[in-house]
Symmetry: C2
Subunit: 522 residues, 2 copies
């Protein structure tokens, strides 16, 4: 009933652009990584939750990345009732839907975590996928700075549980209310200026890439890039743009140029002979930006967050206030967080660059309100799993090294008539908890051994007619076997190695012998 | 920047139809179940593989459930290059694409397993979801019956590893070539009759629901159901339809009426005083259906599969030939399998019914050929995870019972000024590996204790001003605490219980005391 073999192949087998397959090594390493993250989150009292991959498009609505093009960026389709569904774009919008829908029966505060794939209909590029994994934790229903501080401490603990050393990461913290207050003073308050405020946020988010002068242009009249394309700016006057930049630079330059050796003490950071503490940063900001309730409120909240962190012994070295962190999404209403890895890796041009962000989040008191009509406080943090995975590989974390790379014991099918015998050997090994299989292909002995190599097997089991007559089995240590191919120092060593690499045992000794070979290689 | 609180809510929070949220209990139980399945598959030498959720629609093409309406049944959408993508409908089509795309570098045979969500754009109903999970294992590149037999043995081992007792399940086996041979003899051979053959397959698949007479009509002229709707039949003559029905009934009636007590010995099944073995069934079929090469080939393959199973001590009691098993999908080319649970549960009408199928599969030598132009042998098995999960709940399997139901230790926030103290208690507990949290909401003491109950917490930690002055902490056992609410036999018992349910310890004894309470409840 299938395509007859003489028909030509008409379909090209190809992975869709921006999507990826994952083989056993990646899967095992990621699973281990997720288990460690989950372990920390559960220790903090967060509980597992899962929502489906699709939501009604209107549910995502306000959460969409691009307000100007509301249907861009997501994959949408209609169900058999002609209702529009979209693949989830992040894990925050579905959580808001879930909490609003189940509000009365949920414990409040509701602390949950969710690991899952999210989807974006964007141009894929290096490291930019259309399907990628996020791992979120959120506390819904807690208004105070204690909830924000806890999320930041949990992020720090998570990175350490994954093998990122203290000093190799920093949780940067800021508060949107400070920036909002500065924008308000610059005449960008009110609903009618929402678009311009978003332009300001996006401009600030480009500080790393465009530098201060680039951002200054985007805050003001606009900026022409090298290709000649013009990006319209937020239209701030020179003084106003200067105010925003002053805010950003209050801390950013210091953090960006810090090196590992300079993070000396837990509660302060010494850079270029100057000792930085969160309290000092807040004091500096209070000195410059006064006279706005919103700014004062933001700075008070930052102070509280810093105090909680400090009381929990998560000082400035780990949780540091950085006014240049804004997070590009419009929906944050107070504290925002960014987890950055501070060690250097080779960039695309071969030059060392700081690894940078592996996650972020913040407080979003307005999201559940979309459904319930009353504000519901919420704060959360999202890890970019693939990006963090790359980071762990970069620091050679044992969590992602060599996981799942080992294949099963392969029982060679030497004599097609005796397959039932081989099946018995396999069953005996499996019965002892040893992963094993009989070779099921059509190849000869060499092909079968090559197959075992390709699988990453440590051991092969062989019984030809000679061995069968003697009631014996040959055990082949494939790791040592590969070494006997190389030069041995002298003949005695070589023979000893060869004897260890391949030897006979009585049939009854199969399991013990295989276990011995596996034990040799840890 | 979010919706101001005075705006009315405009969006209704609702889960899309046919999709589901999953809470911690379901997630933990399913994870445990998947881990057990994975354990068996790895023991058999299968390795993990993952493909993305979307494929190019043309990749799925032939795998679509309904050839008459190729774009029905799946969720499809266009990417930014206007290429059509579809959410995967099963895990077989993506595997065929993956193997074809990576053919040269893969070990062959290639043995892999994949657990993942699949999506169907169909009318949802009770137990019918638009997103559900499958767990597949496949061997690609092995042509012989040994590969099929191994898949069946692995399915049996998997069910037992999940706590389904021997005798409570059966792996039914059949071979499409037998039915194809009978259809060929009935004049339904050749490409031009593909549609009619599919109609026959679908008619047979309805045997359970419509009975023999219903199927006879669908094999012949067609059938009018109770509502008056007419379903066109395959147009077989009376004699031809009778041949097909004779084939189906060679075994089916016996299996369908067997009860648990009747599965007596490993290598045979005794039903109504008649001893059934796979060899006897094949002999009976050989007697009736002779004279076709295709039928002989199918019966030979069944015999080989039965011999392998028998040599591995998986006799007729576990792996049984049943000619009524056809599997509705067109792409199977030889052996087909169905894993059935034989115990009874209450049906929708309250009457006992056999639980039925929890998975199935078969050999599909033509699927990879679609991409490569040469046939590539392949055989596999797919578990319906949600359905199996329901089955495990029905047999009270410990794997799914009570998993993940326990909440963290809750440290009450009695005095807002002392939050840093409570944070220290929480940190001490977490440092000892005990999941703990400080209450972060706005409620008073009673609300906080209710919150702990709602979370499923076993223990609460309380320090008010009285305790603080004495340097003490109150430990509350929430399980015993709930019991003191009921009647105790006498006052002495009551006081003892009350003392155990709530007691004071010095601050330094916090971790030990909490550990003691947790240990009381396993």
């Amino acid at each position: 009933m299938s395509n007859p073999p003489d028909k030509p192949a008409t379909v090209k087998a190809r992975l869709p652009r921006g999507f990826g397959d994952r083989a056993r090594g990646d899967i095992a390493a990621t699973d281990e990584m997720l288990a460690r993250i989950r372990g920390v989150y559960e220790l903090y009292g967060f509980e597992a939750l899962e929502t489906p991959f699709a939501e009604y498009t209107e549910t995502l609505g306000k959460f969409l990345p691009d307000l100007d093009r509301p249907n861009e960026g997501v994959f949408s389709f209609q169900d058999d009732d002609d209702q529009w569904l979209s693949l989830r774009y992040d894990l925050t919008a579905p959580l808001a839907r879930y909490v609003a829908e189940n509000f009365d029966r949920l414990p409040k505060p509701f602390r949950s975590f969710r690991a899952g794939w999210v989807f974006r209909n964007e141009k894929p590029g290096p490291g930019r996928f259309r399907q990628f994994m996020q791992f979120d934790a959120d506390t819904v229903g807690a208004a105070g700075a204690a909830a924000d501080a806890e999320i930041c401490m949990m992020a720090a603990d998570t990175l350490e549980a994954l093998g990122v050393k203290r000093g190799d990461y920093v949780i940067k913290v800021n508060n949107r209310k400070v920036l909002d207050g500065v924008m308000e003073a610059a005449g960008l308050g009110g609903d009618e200026n929402a678009g311009r405020r978003l332009t300001v946020l996006r401009a600030i988010d480009k500080l790393d890439r465009l530098g201060v002068e680039g951002v200054r242009l985007l805050l003001g009249p606009g900026r022409k890039d090298e290709s000649g394309d013009f990006t319209k700016g937020a239209g701030l006057g020179e003084t106003q743009a200067h105010e925003v930049l002053t805010l950003l630079m209050s801390q950013a330059d210091v953090v960006e140029t810090g090196t590992l050796e300079q993070w000396e003490r837990d509660d302060s950071v010494s850079i270029s002979g100057m000792t930085i503490t969160n309290s000092a940063t807040i004091k500096k900001l209070r000195g410059h930006f006064s006279g706005s309730d919103l700014i004062s409120q933001g700075l008070d909240e930052l102070q509280q967050l810093a105090d909680f962190a400090s009381a929990g012994r998560y000082g400035t070295r780990r949780i540091i206030i950085d006014p240049s962190v804004v997070r590009g999404l419009e929906y944050y209403t107070g504290p925002v967080f960014e987890a950055e890895l501070t060690f250097e890796v080779k960039g695309e041009d071969g030059k060392p660059v700081r690894f940078g962000s592996v996650g972020g989040g913040g407080r979003y008191d307005g999201l559940v309100a979309r459904f319930r009509g009353e504000p519901v406080p919420a704060t959360g943090f999202s890890i970019g799993v693939s990006r963090l995975y790359s980071a762990l590989k970069a620091v050679n974390s044992p969590i992602v090294a060599g996981a799942g790379a080992r294949g099963p014991v392969v029982v060679l099918a030497m004599d097609r008539e005796r397959i039932a015998d081989y099946q018995k050997f396999v069953s005996a090994l499996r019965g002892a908890g040893i992963a094993a299989e009989m070779y099921l292909g059509a190849g000869g002995m060499n092909a079968q051994l090559k197959y075992a190599d390709k699988r990453g097997s440590l051991c092969a089991v062989i019984q030809g007619s000679n061995e069968r007559e003697k009631g014996e089995i040959v055990i082949k240590d494939l790791v040592l076997g590969a070494q006997t191919g190389g030069a041995a120092k002298d003949r005695a060593d070589y023979l000893e190695l060869k004897q260890k690499a391949q030897f006979s045992v009585p049939e009854s000794g199969l399991v013990e012998a295989v276990r011995g070979v596996l034990a040799r290689h840890g």
